[in-house]
């Protein structure tokens, strides 16, 4: 049996919670995610479509959007892109370049999606005579879908932009 000091046991307990890893204090193994980010994106778009199509009642579309958003939050934590300013994850020049390209593409998509939505949704609401309640729900779902794109698309882009390397041979 190994004897550990109280401090070591406290460290073990803190590591066991997983919080240091999430906070970027421990270097973690990042992986290419070529398919997983598609799930939250699909959920978000299906959810928004449902929100727009359904007139009232229990909103399954909104639930799909929220679920997709909840999934997308995990993508930056385990995907190939290292976050800005993480103490234990020092991004080198290749990783910084990849991150720059991934976010440039993502921000372009989010901006276009946002601008088109801003023009289309009020027009559709006016034409179809939506109530303020329905318009609010649609806009909230759309906002959350945009957040989902912002979370998941950089991971998706970075995963497809590079072919995964085989495990270290030396």
């Amino acid at each position: 049996m190994t004897h550990k000091s109280v401090i070591q046991r406290l460290d073990d307990a803190a590591n066991w919670t997983g919080v240091p890893k999430l906070a970027g204090l421990v270097e973690k193994r990042r992986r290419s995610m070529r398919w997983l980010p598609i799930v939250p994106l699909l959920l978000a778009f299906a959810g928004v479509t449902l929100c727009f199509a359904r007139e009232s009642g229990f909103p399954p579309g909104y639930i799909a959007v929220v679920f997709g958003f909840s999934l997308s939050v995990w993508m930056p934590m385990f995907g190939p892109l290292k976050p800005w300013g993480a103490a234990a994850e020092n991004a080198d020049e290749r990783e910084r370049e990849l991150r720059r390209r991934a976010f440039l593409v993502t921000l372009w998509v989010v901006a276009m999606f946002g601008v088109v939505s801003l023009m289309m949704v009020p027009a559709v609401a006016e034409i179809l005579g939506w109530t303020m309640d329905r318009l609010t729900r649609a806009m909230m779902a759309l906002g959350m879908a945009l957040f989902t794109v912002f979370n998941a698309l950089p991971t998706l882009y970075a995963s497809w932009a590079t072919r995964p390397l085989p495990d270290e041979e030396d």
Partner: protein
């Protein structure tokens, strides 16, 4: 434009692991792997750092023309002698 390199060759010759080379030039080991595979073009600073580690001129490590294989290079060397 494709940038060919002989990092893997020089690394093997010097008996350096990817990790050791990566630490010497202050990048992550994966970046050395992507460089060797030609999937990433290094900055001038990184290219010069790697050339300095091997103690060679940068044009011996990177080229826009494919490098001759070791067998061809040896044949040429034999013919020149």
């Amino acid at each position: 434009m494709i940038l060919y390199n002989r990092i893997a060759l020089f690394r093997a010759e010097r008996g350096l692991t990817r990790k050791a080379l990566a630490e010497a030039v202050d990048v992550n080991p994966q970046t050395i792997g992507y460089l060797e595979r030609g999937d990433y073009k290094p900055s001038l600073e990184l290219a010069m750092k790697i050339a300095a580690i091997f103690g060679i001129a940068i044009e011996h490590l990177f080229s826009f023309e494919p490098f001759p294989s070791v067998a061809v290079a040896l044949r040429h060397a034999d013919a020149a002698e």
